[in-house]
Symmetry: C2
Subunit: 168 residues, 2 copies
């Protein structure tokens, strides 16, 4: 279950995030401004900008998968500047996530997950996924979305949720 | 597992959302403006305002629980106007969520969940939780957060995530 909550859902949502960027490009072309303006926008002066929100969403997905399974994560330098860089960063993480299988998560629920800033405390894998990885991931994707939405990019809830696996 | 992903997590996060409002009141007192200004703010002219974001976060929590379990949900009229109204709405939903037990979710994964706007299509309970209820809930809480953050309210990631169940 934790696999399904994270890997395919993170992949889908990161692809949706990449799709927000296509809509950002459309707006920049229509209104004739550099799309970099949007990449560097933020909603408050002491908030991370769009690029940084994407980097953190990517890292949340990548590092959650790595921590929950014990598989090593590739390093990414956070040096994205252009639209192409940002889209490539997303693509790299989506590809990394594709290397996971449900069985990699077999023992993750009871795994001890920690971070240096937690000063020796830890979360069980299950609590980490529910209380940290999942809300954190959606937080940064939604904040990236809001930065674009605030600046007039024509995205809506459907772009955020993406395809739903409807049955008939 | 779906119980743990939804009920306690929705309760905690809705309480965090109520706490954002306490910080909003602080700012309004320091800067001497009516807190209603924040309640009616939005990030784009064609986006729902703060109150509506809270109402939808509340409804997502309430109706997801109801749909996944088949238990009836109380009706709420969406007539909140004041800070007290908004806090009371959140409290009502937190109390409703407290009526659920893990065993209410025993058969939810295979339940067929539908909405009028889905025109006869449905999602399995598990897919509904993963692809719709959870991302949707965090979307509206984060958007409410962003509206306040954009207007200078001193909230941060810790206020959003709330208490983490650390072990030593």
């Amino acid at each position: 279950m934790i696999y399904e909550l994270t890997i395919p859902q993170f992949q889908k949502t990161l692809r949706n995030l990449s799709h927000f960027l296509d809509k950002a490009v459309q707006l920049s072309e229509t209104k004739k401004f550099e799309v970099d303006v949007l990449l560097n926008s933020r909603l408050a002066p002491d908030q991370f900008n769009f690029i940084r929100q994407v980097q953190i969403a990517c890292d949340t997905a990548k590092l959650s998968a790595s921590r929950l399974t014990g598989k090593e994560a590739p390093a990414h330098e956070d040096n994205e500047k252009s639209l192409q860089d940002v889209k490539a960063r997303i693509e790299k993480v989506v590809s990394y996530l594709a290397t996971f299988k449900a069985e990699d998560f077999k023992e993750c629920e009871t795994k001890k997950i920690t971070q240096p800033r937690w000063e020796g405390k830890y979360l069980s894998g299950k609590d980490f996924a529910i209380h940290h990885a999942i809300p954190n991931f959606y937080f940064h994707v939604t904040t990236a979305y809001s930065i674009l939405r605030h600046n007039g990019v024509e995205i809506g809830k459907k772009d955020y949720l993406g395809e739903l696996p409807f049955k008939h």
